[in-house]
Symmetry: C2
Subunit: 170 residues, 2 copies
DNA sequence: GATTGCATGTAAGGGGTTACATGATTTT
DNA sequence: AAAATCATGTAACCCCTTACATGCAATC
């Protein structure tokens, strides 16, 4: 039975927009980010490709015993519609990085808006973490996790500031 | 029907080891890290607490219309066994942060080993990202995601180095 | 010619989210 | 007394992982 695999669906579609790839290629590329967001298993990746093929959003061709997938115009259409969606509150790092991977599908304005949305969200959470860290002081809490969160929040804000300041980098 | 919710199970158990909490308290605390790893929904959190209670790993008491959960000695035992497990390859940021939150359950040696494991993993992936970024140069790839990954990898390595250099911080 | 890496796939089951529901307590 | 926040819960459904399985291609 063909399932939706919604998140992966658009990630895969976005990668195929850049370049025709095999399932294996996609897996290898996404492995580069596994320390951040993990990497999808073949058990989800291949079914996702089959579903995209069945929905005519990608084509599948054999080439020296490898299956090359190419995005169709219908696929590009669907990807555009997906990218145009209003952004939700939820922006875990995983979701955020996924959007960065698909950033080629955004207009510069859309991308800027997205980055700013992320920025304000992290700013708020950073203050919250700072407060929590002060509350524990010499307490028995989990200061390592709080310290890590605070550090990474600060660094990501730095990165966002740099990227937003230099639009040509986008 | 009571399901297992394995990952959450130990996260919750670890938080309860520090302090008696309600489901709501746990949710609010984990929300502090939502920009990094998301936050579990109540639809998974409450069933996880019920399962822990049914397994006698936590106790449940009413207190002014709130349900306070406390870890039992059986729960502490199970948590220790879980923390003693050999580490797997998989170390997404989510898994890593989860371990940091539970760091109070590790011996200093165990924690050091875990941090070093993470360190060597990120070092390898950082080199890989660097290579990928060079390969694209002026190409049509997803340089924003690669740049983000590389930046965050570098920063996390910095953090790990600092923490490992100052054991009293742990 | 055997081992390792490339490459693709399926079935069962697990762990989670979404959407829906409810009520108590505090604040305006 | 209305609105917002605190607080808990369930059921359906979804997406993904795990474990298993296969075969070709390249290298030793």
């Amino acid at each position: 039975m063909v399932k939706n695999t919604v998140k992966l669906r658009y990630l895969v579609l976005g990668l195929l927009k850049e370049k025709a790839l095999t399932g294996y290629d996609i897996k290898v590329f996404l492995e580069s980010f596994s320390w951040l967001i993990g990497s999808p298993s073949y058990g989800s990746l291949y079914p996702a490709l089959h579903a995209l093929r069945d929905d005519k959003l990608v084509t599948q061709e054999m080439e020296s015993s490898r299956k090359i997938y190419r995005i169709t115009s219908a696929g590009q259409q669907e990807l555009r519609e997906w990218a145009d969606q209003p952004l939700t509150q939820e922006t875990s790092l995983k979701t955020f990085l996924m959007h960065l991977i698909l950033s080629a599908n955004y207009s510069r304005e859309g991308l800027t808006a997205y980055l700013q949305h992320r920025q304000s969200q992290i700013e708020a959470q950073r203050e919250n973490l700072q407060q929590l860290l002060q509350d524990v002081e010499s307490g028995s809490r989990e200061p390592l996790a709080l310290a890590y969160g605070l550090f990474m929040a600060t660094q990501e804000l730095q990165w966002l500031e740099n990227v937003l300041a230099e639009p040509r980098e986008m």
